[in-house]
């Protein structure tokens, strides 16, 4: 995207498409107002569109799934109150936990394709594997870092390219002229699939290690600007 200026008009067109896709909408769920503010800023800095809510039930409401309506949402997928590309949720919340929210989303026919990422301040291996087995794309240890945010795009693109595959099948039968862009995103999807499964494993390894390696502060690194 940065080198857009050096590209041919055709490539330019593609770059524009990528840029439009870059404004993915993320729904962030956390009961702590401090953490909501933090995740909102992290996501916006990483150029996501963000909506934050303080509970799992609010999140489901926003997604168009009312409580007690386990499998059939009130509205067909395209007519949700808002279109959400990814849900990132805290694990430990009063009432509905992040895991409960995950199960509700994955149990709904229209929401199940929305990638879900779970965050927790506690490093509990059994909890992490339960969430991943329950369909979570990834598990972040809090406090969440800017570098974590980049990984979300992979999970969104993976979901998108699954949709594109279906779309492409339809378009192929309709003799659509849009093959080029569809196939290019499909090829990136297989890569993403591969990456994401290794990411998942990496995430677990990270969580299990006592301390994640993070940049250290030192006096030498202080600079006056």
């Amino acid at each position: 995207m940065v080198q857009r200026n050096q590209q041919s008009p055709q490539q330019h067109q593609e770059a524009m498409t990528v840029e439009a896709e870059a404004q993915f909408h993320v729904l962030a769920v956390d009961d702590s107002v401090i953490d909501r503010k933090l995740i909102e800023r992290l996501l916006k800095t990483s150029s996501y569109q963000v909506t934050t809510v303080e509970s799992g039930s609010k999140a489901l409401e926003l997604l168009g799934l009312r409580e007690g309506q386990d499998t059939t949402p009130s509205l067909p997928p395209k007519q949700h109150e808002i279109e959400v590309n990814l849900v990132i949720t805290d694990y430990c919340m009063p009432g509905m936990t992040g895991y409960d929210l995950l199960k509700k989303i994955k149990g709904s026919s229209s929401l199940k394709d929305i990638p879900v990422v779970i965050m927790s301040s506690e490093n509990v291996p059994s909890r992490i594997s339960r969430c991943l087995e329950g369909g979570a794309e990834e598990f972040f240890l809090k406090p969440v870092q800017l570098s974590d945010m980049k990984r979300l795009r992979l999970h969104i693109l993976k979901g998108k390219s699954n949709c594109n595959e279906q779309q492409q099948q339809q378009e192929d039968s309709n003799n659509s002229s849009n093959d080029g862009s569809s196939s290019s995103s499909t090829s990136s999807c297989s890569n993403n699939n591969k990456n994401s499964s290794s990411n998942k494993r990496k995430a677990i390894d990270e969580e299990l290690s006592p301390e994640r390696t993070r940049p250290r502060f030192s006096h030498d690194s202080l600079t006056v600007v």
Binding site: L38, Q145, S221
Partner: protein, 151 residues
């Protein structure tokens, strides 16, 4: 006061806070998230932390004043405090919260009371230091300087 002098004080104070383990790298993350579009981000988050902490500390004092204590409720509050202190990088508060939670697990009221005193002290220390830091920041900006950044 001269800008360079204020900037030097800002750097010295920040360095001391890190050396003493009062703040950790998470605080730098917060500073990195602050930009022209969000010039008060750190201050806003830290203000929320102050409000939240004072509410929690009052609540904990109230609960532990009683002879009969519901340690599950104490633990839930301490868990919340641990999370928020980790989110702003108040490392020493977070560490005391870990010890505090072990006391909750052991249903140890005396231990909890000691931890509460300790966490209150750490909180006061963080608060007064961060207020000093924000004051210096204001003075630097008022004098036409820019805030020193840390990588």
């Amino acid at each position: 006061m001269e800008v360079a002098h204020l900037q030097r004080r800002f750097i010295d104070l920040t360095t001391t806070l890190f050396q003493q383990g009062i703040l950790d790298n998470q605080f730098i993350q917060l500073q990195q998230l602050q930009d022209e579009s969000n010039p008060n981000f750190v201050h806003e988050v830290v203000s929320l932390f102050f409000q939240d902490s004072e509410k929690l500390l009052n609540e904990l004092s109230r609960i532990l004043d009683h002879q009969i204590v519901d340690f599950k409720i104490v633990d839930a509050h301490v868990h919340q405090f641990k999370g928020s202190s980790a989110s702003i990088g108040a490392q020493r508060i977070k560490d005391v919260c870990i010890a505090f939670r072990s006391c909750c697990e052991e249903n140890n009221r005396d231990g909890c009371i000691r931890c509460l005193q300790q966490v209150k002290q750490e909180y006061c220390l963080v608060k007064s230091n961060l207020e000093d830091l924000f004051r210096l920041e204001k003075q630097i900006l008022a004098a036409g300087g820019s805030i020193p950044t840390m990588q």
